[in-house]
């Protein structure tokens, strides 16, 4: 008999840190000790802490292990499964208390979460439909098909207050109703799994960890809207998610939960997976539809809206992975339960991706209305290395940055919008005092510029021009009217662009200008980067008092501009040839290399035109 399950995360994050090899080692080690019939190794989806990967969870005791690499497996098996005591080396530490934590329940990262969408993630084997069924899988679909009319389903979703999780927050029930009333046939439902924000992987984690919940949600939606055919549009980069989706769909067909006459009713539903080539813009629904049709993924002006004329000119309903996965719990537990969670305007939970300069990075599901401060300092465990928090970028590359003074706002669609940012897909990139906000704006603008489809000039050329200006500011070649030019362009690109990509692309620029204008001015007027990030504005020197003469900096220097001072065990950096690569700074173990951004008057001669304008150095 099996007495214990060890759940090994085989999501993309943990797979890349070696969970598959660890799994094999576990199996071999268990066999070695004759435990193969007592301990079962179960592969699951993402548990949310990819930075600690490969992670695993042991049941029934609930011990949570981090960094389960092959080398540690023998000891882990011996300690935990033979001797019955937790293997302390692999227990994570709480960043606040510095104590080892044993189970997920003891971990602030986990115990603050409220899991509705990710309820099954990291708990069940996503490649086994029976485990999903064991946790009430497909009983929501069964309930809907056998005891509810499509109208009742829509009413239930409306009453729940669920809003689309793709970014815009349109009420899902209303969207379904419009679709149901569309007079044309056939109708299509689509799952938008084209998650493209850098550093965001909440949708992937759901599809890898619990693909059936998305399929079941789609089937319920299709029934409510009068559709018989669904598509999951997913990017090719999500190899594992694609594989698990295919497995899930196949298993659902085999069990009669997809296909003809589902639950012996007249409802038929087919689902197909469509692979995208990973273009950011294909997350925009009109571009997505063109891509599903096999055409170039470019947005179309709306109207016509997808519910009027979508895929192949027929009414189409597109919802995000998270939205689809939320349908099942609403049907099972009721609209009333769901609407009791969250805020007045926004109900339920949202999966956020915590990334950047933060202790606990990963995916976390939290109720709407949680404040940014709670997310960053409690769930996220605060900023590492005792650095100071500077700003958080919400909503992905086209979101805005939010500074310290607004951290206490409850997170929901409207509140973020008011601050010049967006909810987007729920990305949270935390920046500390070492982040240069001009550089941050440049980075995100570069992403948007790269991902612009090029259909409309405001986005195609406008983002490129903004990037050009940001680049020259970062390079210390900013001009006095660059801030004005940026503002003009940003406003125009926001107003005039065809789709959401262009309309939101200026957000990082606009919000950094709004909250960190002084940093722009320091770059342009003083030729100084206060966070000491922009390479062209840096100055490196060696503090002779600290230098131990180990020569590591001289050896690291790619242009050989660090010299030994004659007769002394010290080194000196000749700034003329220095390319400011920072190799010496990184190499020095004694903090003897100083990185400063002194501004004009120190390193560079003041530019003639600035001097003429009377700008102080």
């Amino acid at each position: 008999m099996i007495r214990s399950h060890i759940l090994v995360c085989t999501g993309t994050g943990c797979t890349s840190s070696g969970s598959l090899a660890a799994r094999d080692a576990l199996l071999a080690e268990l066999k070695k000790h004759g435990l193969e019939n007592e301990i079962e190794v179960v592969e699951t989806g993402c548990m949310g802490r990819c930075d600690l990967g490969p992670v695993s969870l042991v049941h029934p005791d609930g011990t949570f292990y981090k960094n389960v690499v092959v080398a540690d497996v023998p000891k882990l098996v011996e300690e935990h499964f033979l001797k019955g005591r937790p293997y302390e080396k692999l227990l994570p530490q709480d960043p606040k208390t510095q104590h080892a934590v044993l189970t997920q329940a003891d971990f602030t990262f986990f115990n603050r979460q409220m899991r509705i969408v990710r309820d099954n993630c990291g708990v069940i084997d996503p490649e086994n439909i029976e485990e999903y069924i064991a946790r009430d899988g497909y009983s929501a679909l069964g309930k809907v098909l056998t005891s509810m009319t499509p109208e009742q389903v829509i009413e239930e979703i409306k009453a729940s207050g669920l809003r689309g999780r793709g970014g815009a927050g349109f009420p899902t029930g209303k969207k379904w109703e419009i679709m149901r009333l569309a007079p044309d046939f056939p109708k299509y439902v689509v799952c938008n799994a084209d998650e493209g924000d850098p550093g965001a992987f909440m949708n992937r984690s759901v599809l890898e960890g619990d693909p059936h919940s998305v399929i079941e949600g789609m089937a319920i939606g299709a029934y409510a809207m009068g559709s018989n055919r669904g598509f999951v549009y997913i990017r090719a980069e999500y190899g594992l998610a694609v594989k698990r989706l295919h497995i899930a769909i196949e298993q659902a067909y085999k069990s009669g939960l997809l296909g003809k006459k589902i639950f012996e009713t007249d409802f038929n539903f087919d689902v197909e997976v469509r692979i995208g080539a990973g273009a950011f813009v294909c997350g925009e629904e009109t571009a997505l539809m063109r891509s599903v049709e096999g055409r170039r993924g470019q947005p179309q002006p709306r109207p016509p809206f997808p519910a009027q004329r979508g895929l192949w000119g027929k009414p189409t309903n597109i919802n995000n992975v998270e939205t689809w996965a939320t349908i099942r719990p609403i049907i099972l537990k009721g609209a009333k339960w769901f609407s009791s969670i969250g805020t007045e305007k926004t109900k339920g939970t949202k999966v956020f991706c915590l990334a950047g300069k933060i202790n606990n990075t990963g995916v976390a599901e939290l109720p709407f209305g949680t404040t940014l401060r709670e997310m960053i300092f409690e769930v996220g465990g605060g900023i590492p290395n005792g650095k100071k928090f500077k700003a958080v970028q919400t909503g992905g590359p086209s979101g805005g940055v939010i500074p310290e003074q607004h951290l206490d706002i409850p997170v929901e669609y409207e509140s973020l919008q008011k601050l010049g940012s967006i909810m987007g897909s729920g990305g949270m990139v935390v920046m500390d005092e070492d982040s240069c906000m001009v550089d941050v704006a440049r980075f995100f603008m570069e992403f948007c510029c790269d991902e612009s489809c090029g259909k409309c000039p405001p986005c195609r050329v406008g983002t490129r021009q903004m990037l050009t200006i940001l680049e020259r500011i970062c390079n210390g070649q900013g001009e006095l009217d660059d801030i004005q030019k940026l503002q003009d362009l940003a406003a125009m690109v926001k107003d005039t662009s065809l789709c959401g990509l262009g309309q939101t692309a200026p957000n990082p620029v606009l919000t950094t200008l709004r909250y960190f204008r002084d940093e722009y001015e320091a770059h342009i007027l003083d030729r100084r980067c206060p966070a000491r990030v922009c390479r062209e504005l840096l100055h490196f020197e060696i503090d002779e008092a600290m230098c131990k003469g180990c020569s590591i900096c001289a050896r690291a220097c790619p242009v050989q501009t660090i010299f030994k001072i004659d007769g002394q065990k010290k080194f000196r950096l000749e700034p003329e040839k220095c390319i400011r690569c920072g190799a010496c700074f990184d190499a020095c173990r004694f903090d003897a290399v100083r990185k400063t951004s002194p501004g004009i008057g120190h390193v560079h001669e003041p530019k003639a035109e600035l001097a003429a304008e009377g700008v102080k150095a």
């Binding site: 273009a279 179309q300 002006p301 090029g454 409309c456 000039p457 405001p458 107003d495 005039t496």
Partner: protein
């Protein structure tokens, strides 16, 4: 059908009427409010990409493209606020900063391009943003088309034209963002393209100098050219042309957007073949002296012919005439017919079968435009009547029309066909397929060409007509469309001129002593006569041959007298297309050298 609902709205405070489903731009245009546009073209689907036609709808903070946004009843539209002006100006300014739009070195020859117009309109006198100017390739590998990516603003007017008008979808956009580029097929050059038909519609649509006619490049602005509207004489469709001329030479030829026949679209033959490549012309009359053709005067040539003809018996005189002549020339034949034992028209291959029972198919193009099923028997529109081929392609690709082709030679249209089989190999299975494909057709169209005129072909035609008549048309008999190959062959046949099926037999009926060949402006100078079996020896036996042609050829080598004829752009009068429309011909240029129009020559020589 229910009439669309009428709507009223205000545009810039002006009360405007429109119908439900119209876009804001359409309503504004119909009510005399001008909204600037760039990527929009009337006959193409709206793209909504250039953001120049943006307007505000009162009560909404967003700006919307008027070309694609439906006008809503009772809404108030603002087209000209300072905010809109600023946004449009910046949009166009960004376009100017993106690639090379310096006019002096542009091959563009429409004079002032649409982009330039926008620049003037918004008062753009300098660009505040850095010029991006990527160095992009110039594709000159096409026979007639040039593509300079450096001047492209990515409005996709060419892409949509290629897709929606010519129906071949050779062009599309490749790459992403600022790296966007127009691509030909799967990113090859024009010269390598297997789908491009060189119809030149993309050049017509291009708002800058990115796509240009190689033959016209750097020949100066078209606005400074003389424009002449005339009719193409390459095939029986009769497309309207606008010929741009300067200093007695052609600078460019475009389709006439106002022509009811082609609405501005042309095929390669009409657009380029007639002028973009030089052909050796016959510039003056010539008579054979001591075995050699020597230039002479019209007077001498006329006298020589008269002497020859009066020396022979009428029953030994004959005339072969090309169908490319004008209606006026055909009428002139009545006066001179008495001089000849017989007059024959040397039509195209197998075309005689059609010309023996000439039928004009009224409204053929309108029916084709609207057809939901097209059956093509023995006609080769993609070789001979490109504009018809374009209409067939777009009917299939854009409106989902069914297509059945019974061909004698394969063509690109086979790709779009539901059924495509050779005329001769028809089995029972075929008729079942035809029934399946055409069974539900409401507006079927049957087009047949010369190759259908065989014993088998005619039987098939009969049966097809019966099949289609029972399917749609409400029991009415389907009127098939007869599509000849040669320009004015139906009019010539209708005038009683015998179409010659087999030239050698026709010649051999009795020995001739005088043969007048009116080759007119046949591109090969009439030399195709010699390609027919047994014709050359028969011609060599005739003592006196007069060749009246525009271009030099082998035929002139057999002639006793050669007369220079005017070409298409030097002719005036009328021609009749396959629908029976009488279409005007207007001389765009004076005849080259001593050349004269066919009618004038015939009247002068035989009067």
């Amino acid at each position: 059908m229910i009439a669309p609902k009428e709507i009223t709205l205000t545009i810039d405070g002006k009360a405007c009427r429109g119908t439900q489903g119209q876009t804001i731009l359409q309503v504004a245009g119909a009510n005399g409010v001008e909204i600037p546009t760039l990527c929009w073209l009337k006959h193409l689907s709206p793209w909504g990409g250039c953001r120049v036609c943006i307007v505000e709808i009162q009560g909404s903070p967003k700006v919307v493209p008027s070309c694609s946004t439906p006008a809503m009843d009772g809404s108030a539209i603002i087209t000209n606020s300072p905010r809109l002006q600023g946004l449009r100006r910046l949009t166009v300014e960004l376009l100017f900063s993106e690639r090379n739009h310096f006019c002096p070195m542009c091959p563009m020859n429409k004079g002032d391009c649409d982009l330039q117009q926008q620049g003037y309109k918004f008062g753009i006198d300098s660009i505040r943003y850095p010029y991006l100017y990527p160095s992009l390739p110039l594709d000159l590998s096409g026979k007639y088309l040039g593509l300079d990516h450096n001047r492209c603003i990515l409005c996709t007017r060419c892409v949509r034209t290629c897709d929606e008008v010519e129906g071949v979808h050779t062009l599309d956009i490749g790459n992403r963002g600022v790296k966007n580029q127009i691509v030909v097929d799967l990113n090859v050059t024009f010269g390598m393209s297997t789908t491009c038909t060189s119809c030149g519609a993309c050049v017509t649509a291009c708002p800058t100098g990115a796509l240009f006619d190689k033959a016209a490049a750097f020949h100066g602005p078209l606005v400074k050219c003389r424009q002449t509207r005339t009719t193409c004489s390459e095939c029986p469709v009769g497309c309207g042309l606008v010929v741009y001329t300067k200093d007695d030479r052609i600078v460019d030829v475009f389709g006439d957007a106002e022509s009811p026949v082609n609405r501005g679209h042309l095929c390669r033959r009409g657009r380029y073949d007639t002028w973009a490549e030089p052909r050796p012309r016959i510039r003056q009359p010539m008579v054979r002296r001591d075995g050699k053709l020597v230039p002479t005067s019209w007077g001498d040539a006329t006298r020589t012919i008269r002497t020859l003809i009066s020396a022979s018996n009428d029953w030994q005189n004959a005339m072969l005439i090309s169908p490319r002549v004008t209606n006026e020339t055909i009428r002139a034949l009545h006066g001179i017919g008495v001089r000849f034992d017989r007059i024959g028209a040397f039509v195209a291959d197998k075309e005689a079968g059609i010309c023996t029972s000439p039928e004009f198919s009224t409204d053929a193009l309108v029916r084709l435009q609207d057809a939901d099923a097209i059956v093509l028997v023995g006609a080769e529109p993609s070789r001979n009547q490109g504009v018809i081929a374009a209409k067939i392609r777009t009917a299939v690709r854009r409106r989902g029309a069914r297509l059945v082709i019974l061909h004698s030679r394969r063509s690109d249209l086979d790709t779009y066909a539901d059924i495509s089989v050779p005329v001769v190999s028809l089995e029972r299975k075929f008729w079942k397929q035809v029934g399946d494909v055409l069974g539900s057709a409401k507006r079927p169209v049957l087009i047949y060409g010369p190759a259908a005129m065989s014993a088998v072909g005619v039987t098939i035609l009969d049966r097809l007509i019966k099949t289609l008549s029972s399917a749609g048309n409400g029991g009415e008999m389907l009127a098939p469309i007869q599509l000849p190959t040669s320009t004015n062959s139906l009019a010539l046949a209708a005038a009683g001129v015998e179409p010659v099926e087999d030239v050698s037999t026709w010649l051999a009926v009795q020995p001739l002593s005088f043969l007048h060949i009116v080759a007119s402006d046949e591109p090969d100078g009439g030399a195709r006569l010699l390609k027919e079996p047994h014709v050359r020896p028969l011609l060599e036996q005739i003592d006196n041959i007069v060749v009246q042609a525009s271009y030099e050829s082998e035929l002139t080598q057999l002639a006793r007298v050669v007369l220079p004829a005017a070409i298409w752009c030097e002719k005036s009068g009328t021609t009749t297309n396959f629908e029976g429309r009488t279409l005007p011909l207007q001389a765009a240029l004076p005849p080259t050298g001593e050349a004269r129009e066919d009618k004038a020559i015939l009247e002068m020589v035989f009067a």
